[in-house]
């Protein structure tokens, strides 16, 4: 870990002016990812601008009937907020599937979006890694890639985005509110994270001079037919091998509005409009679910140790859609799979 300056931002404007004046400064919120990365010498910020005291901790209803979640709402507060558990239980469930209670208490909504990949090579500065050091190579491709991506990979990088929360947000069509030197803008969650392409060092489309201020959810919460099903190497406190956020609007056994997002498989929460379209208007059953899964995984590519994920993802999609259809969402406290 390097020596760094520390300062506290008093408001959003102050945070923006501080970050504008120091090219290698970073915001710190809960610190649960950034501090680890600093300890591993992956990140070397010259300055930490502490935004954890900014007044971005509210969860409010929007005039459109949706929900606006401040960027500094802790993951645990968000997971247990009555409006979320009642109207967006998918989001609550995804949050509770992630990390541990202690980490969720510290982790912020904005920080969760910006957490970095868990690729083993990214964390070890003794090895090459294109994401960490552009141009140095990607040892994961032929290496220990059990947790790496099967969709949207590039020659340069096969990392995944590890967040659970973001998978639910992607399914829910959330939007990210950001503020920057040129004012405020909104980015759709599905466009927020990038595919690695030949710039794997860039995880997201957020400009380093911008700050996330809030997440907005549209009114449709899919509170009846939803599930977040996360498959991992132990029953809790592990990142997803594959996770599926499934949400359906059902009408007499027919799927009307299907949402299907995958985690642990790509550099971003993975949604496939074609697969969703293939479900819409169709009878909800294992056959249609399997067809949707096939569409999602049509272009999936394994790299040896992670190839099993393709089949696992297929099975997980089918099960998740079944759970959603039946209204039997996966419990995050009993680890038995429904």
């Amino acid at each position: 870990m390097n020596n760094f300056q520390y300062s506290r931002a008093t408001d959003v404007a102050d945070a923006l002016s501080q970050i504008a004046s120091d090219a290698s400064a970073k915001f710190i919120a809960g610190g649960t990812n950034l501090v680890d990365l600093m300890k591993y010498d992956v990140e070397h910020p010259s300055r930490l601008i502490d935004i954890s005291h900014l007044p971005l901790t509210k969860i409010e209803e929007t005039t459109a009937g949706g929900l606006r979640i401040g960027a500094l709402v802790p993951n645990s507060d968000l997971a247990w907020h009555p409006l979320v558990t009642e109207r967006y239980p998918l989001l609550s469930s995804a949050l509770l599937a992630g990390a541990s209670a202690q980490l969720r208490n510290m982790a912020s909504t904005g920080g969760n979006l910006l957490q970095r990949t868990r690729c083993l090579y990214f964390y070890d500065v003794a090895t090459p890694c294109n994401k960490r050091e552009p141009g140095s190579g990607c040892p994961a491709k032929e290496g220990i890639n059990r947790i790496n991506a099967i969709l949207g990979t590039s020659d340069a990088c096969i990392a995944t985005h590890p967040s659970d929360m973001c998978v639910a947000l992607a399914a829910l069509d959330a939007e990210v509110h950001v503020a920057g030197p040129n004012g405020e803008r909104t980015i759709a969650l599905v466009d927020f994270h990038r595919l690695p392409g030949d710039t794997p060092q860039r995880d997201t489309n957020l400009d380093p001079k911008e700050i996330i201020t809030a997440i907005e959810l549209p009114p449709q919460g899919f509170s009846k037919h939803y599930t977040y099903l996360k498959i991992r190497d132990r029953l809790s406190y592990a990142f997803a091998l594959v996770s599926v956020a499934a949400a359906l609007r059902m009408d007499n056994g027919t799927t009307r509005d299907a949402r299907l997002a995958l985690g642990g498989v790509a550099h971003k929460p993975w949604r496939n409009p074609e697969a969703e379209a293939a479900l819409n208007g169709q009878a909800a059953n294992t056959d249609t679910f399997a067809r949707a899964a096939d569409i999602v995984l049509h272009e999936a590519k394994g790299f040896g140790r992670n190839t099993f994920k393709i089949d696992l993802a297929r099975r997980t999609i089918i099960r998740a859609l079944t759970q959603a259809m039946n209204g039997t969402p996966q419990s995050q406290s009993s680890k038995k799979i429904a």
């Binding site: 870990m1 220990i144 089949d311 680890k335 038995k336």
Partner: protein, 735 residues
């Protein structure tokens, strides 16, 4: 006499631990404390060409950067580096000794600074240039080059021939990956410098081992180095041998002539010893009634290029199962890794896994109940020696655990038991460990006011040694447990070997009996000249110490307060220090046993495995403390879940480097993975093993558990996974 022994006494150090009053090696300070941070190699083999510490030295607060080029002198011969637990063959690793690189992550420089943050930052600035040489860390690739070790045990008959004509044969290979100990406490040493002498607080399972080792390495006089380790946050074998941080801390202190603290990082905890990866081939031949007639157990395990660590995986079968013929072989593969070392039930956790998984496969081939097969092959003697066991209550273990588990309701057909999406599997296995004892010396000081101090240089590695020592002393001296002070973890105390192998509870408890008897004898001797004493002419064996008095066993009213005896003798305390040795009885085998039953539920489509029930019945002689004993066994069982389903150190052979060197990616079971865990202690009286009939419980908890779970997974799914850990992808793969 036994008020405390055998009861569920709470830990006497529990309060200190939960309130933080108990201090660990990295928590000691000194006014002149400097902080260390280690730079580790990033290659697996080669030489250091150049170390550039220029940038590091420029950082404000850095005191010095020690490397093999500028360090203070260290011994130059292997003998000096051989600690009590060092393997016989090879040259022990010498930290910061020269420019050769023997494994990835080897320490190459020690940065010393005024504070930890500065040391850590400066360490990241040290540049090392290497002359790299080709390395090999891939076990599989080197299997052909394995070196055969002398036969681990004498063969019986011609196993190959017998196997060839057996009615039923099973032949398979079992794989265990490299695993790491992952104790909660990081390796840490604080070397406190005072007038040229050092008190070293170290995380270790043996203070005197470390003390002798340091004196050897630094050619110091015994009185120049004292090693303390009053508390330890888990060792599991990783702390049996001195680790490199203690050498570096002392090196730093000698270089600076001031105190130095060095705490390894979690990542660095993976750059020390580990449980060796291994392939075991087991051949079992049986008659149609299940009687074994051939056992072949061959193991190939890994170690470093410089030291040949290995234990005996293969010989457990000769203790467990009757077979006319048996053959054993052990080979070693040398890799460019640190030397392997002991880890919880070394050789048994692994060897018995393979044996018990193979026995399950044999039972399937025989269409026989796995428990029935074990009973059919039950051995009443150690077949290596032909000796009977001092006690063996394994039959009771089987029956009590099977009863508690409900084994009789098992449908033998794989995939036959279901519940919703889950396949249910029931599996079982046997566990075994040695009942060992080691020579030990205990000093007891009993004061006239009824307080006792018990002292011995043993360790409490978290198992509850403080507590059982206090229990034994309180009972033997007849004082309340609160009046007993236990001193341990200090190299200046009476001698004790390292704490390991499950031998300390038996050794130190019997040691306390020996010394307490000496106290009793001394009291009687002093009482002899008391006027009108009812103890006059009474033999020592005929009295007990209870309620602060010496009492004649047969006539309890003949009693004299200890305080009166001391007053009469004009002393305010009696101190005795006695060595206890355990003669080899030569007529019996000494072992602990267990029977483990496991239930798993496996989601049929997704392969997610849950261990929903574990029952273990343990026979280990006298149980000193039901509470700490149960915790110890439970811990081992939970570790067995990890070994079966989660644990694996991942090495990228291109770099020869461990890639999941953190506990986020090296998985051990978390609370959600642990469901019902039941421990049964089977009554077992053993008057032979040692006077108190104690056999030890440190290791037995884990032994057999991985096999019981693997066997349950087979029963649930019909899929036999022989390479641990059993991850969900292995249930759906083709082979």
């Amino acid at each position: 006499m036994t008020t405390y022994i055998g009861t569920a006494t709470s830990r006497v150090d529990g309060r200190d631990k939960v309130t933080g009053a108990a201090r660990y090696a990295g928590e000691y300070g000194a006014p002149d404390l400097a902080h260390g941070s280690v730079v580790n190699s990033t290659i697996a083999k080669g030489r250091i060409r150049r170390i550039d510490a220029g940038e590091a030295m420029k950082v404000d607060g850095v005191i010095t950067v020690l490397t093999h080029e500028n360090r203070p002198p260290m011994a130059d011969n292997d003998e000096a580096y051989k600690d009590d637990v060092a393997p016989g063959d090879g040259s022990p690793y010498r930290p910061l000794y020269d420019g050769s690189i023997k494994f990835n992550g080897q320490p190459v420089a020690l940065v010393l600074a005024e504070d930890l943050e500065t040391a850590t930052y400066a360490a990241s600035l040290v540049k090392v240039e290497y002359e790299e040489q080709p390395h090999i860390t891939d076990f599989e690739k080197q299997l052909g080059k394995a070196k055969a070790l002398p036969a681990p045990a004498k063969p019986r008959g011609d196993a190959a021939k017998a196997f060839a004509v057996s009615d039923i044969r099973h032949d398979a290979e079992y794989y265990v990956p490299v695993e790491h100990h992952n104790p909660m406490e990081l390796f840490a040493s604080t070397a406190v410098w005072r007038d040229g002498k050092l008190t070293v607080y170290d995380k270790t399972q043996g203070v005197q081992n470390v003390q002798r080792y340091l004196c050897g390495v630094f050619q110091a006089r015994p009185d120049e180095i004292r090693v303390m380790s009053p508390f330890m946050g888990g060792g599991f074998g990783s702390g049996l041998r001195p680790q490199y941080q203690v050498v570096l801390a002392v090196l730093g202190a000698r270089a600076l002539k001031r105190s130095v603290r060095l705490v390894l990082t979690r990542q660095q905890m993976y750059m020390v010893g580990y449980r060796p990866a291994m392939v075991q081939r087991i051949q079992l031949g049986a008659k149609t009634d299940g009687a074994l007639n051939a056992i072949t157990h061959n193991a190939t395990t890994i170690t470093s290029q410089y030291e040949d660590f290995h234990r005996n995986e293969t010989t457990w079968s000769g203790l467990l199962y009757k077979s006319e013929t048996a053959s054993y072989a052990h080979k070693l593969v040398r890799l460019d890794l640190p030397a392997a070392c002991d880890m919880r039930a070394p050789s048994a956790a692994t060897g018995v896994y393979a044996l018990e998984a193979a026995m399950d496969e044999l039972a399937v081939a025989l269409q026989m109940d796995p428990l029935e097969l074990r009973l059919k092959c039950y051995s009443d003697s150690d077949q290596h020696t032909g000796l009977p066991f001092s006690s063996k209550s394994l039959r009771e273990c089987y029956s009590q655990a099977a009863e508690a588990f409900g084994w009789s309701r098992r449908n033998p057909e794989p995939r036959s038991m279901r519940e919703g999406n889950d396949l249910i599997g029931w599996g079982m296995a046997t566990g075994i460990w040695e009942a060992l004892q080691v020579p030990i010396t205990v000093r007891i000081t009993l004061t006239a006011n009824g307080h006792a101090e018990v002292a011995c240089a043993t360790s409490d590695i978290g198992t509850g040694t403080y507590t059982i020592m206090a229990q034994a002393a309180a009972d033997m001296l007849g004082v309340p447990i609160d009046n007993v002070t236990v001193k341990l973890g200090d190299s200046t105390l009476p001698p004790s070997p390292v704490e390991g192998g499950s031998w300390i509870a038996a050794s130190v408890s019997n040691g306390i009996v020996t010394t307490s008897n000496a106290i009793r004898d001394e009291l009687l001797r002093l009482a002899e000249t008391m006027p009108n004493s009812p103890l006059m002419g009474i033999k020592t064996a005929d009295v007990t110490l209870s309620d602060g008095s010496v009492t004649v066993k047969k006539t309890p009213r003949s009693t004299v307060p200890i305080a009166d005896i001391m007053r009469h003798a004009g002393v305010d305390r009696i101190a005795q220090e006695k060595a206890t040795k355990f003669g080899k009885d030569g007529k019996h085998a000494h072992n602990t046993h267990s029977a483990i039953f496991a239930e798993v539920k496996v989601d049929e489509q997704l392969g997610v495995i849950r261990v929903t029930r574990l029952v273990s019945a343990v026979a280990a002689g006298r149980i000193l403390n039901l509470k700490t004993a149960r915790s110890q066994v439970m811990g081992g069982m939970i570790w067995g879940i990890g070994m079966a389903l989660h644990e694996e150190t991942l090495i990228d052979h291109r770099f020869g480097r461990i890639m999941n060197a953190n506990i986020a990616e090296y998985h051990v079971p978390v609370n959600a993975d642990v469901h019902s865990v039941e421990v049964i202690f089977v009554d077992e009286q053993d008057d032979i093993v040692n006077p108190m009939g104690i056999k030890g419980l440190g290791e037995i908890g884990i032994v057999g558990v991985p096999a019981a779970i693997a066997n349950a997974v087979y029963h649930a799914t019909g899929k036999r996974v022989r390479d641990l850990p059993i991850t969900l992808d292995k249930l759906t793969r083709d082979a």
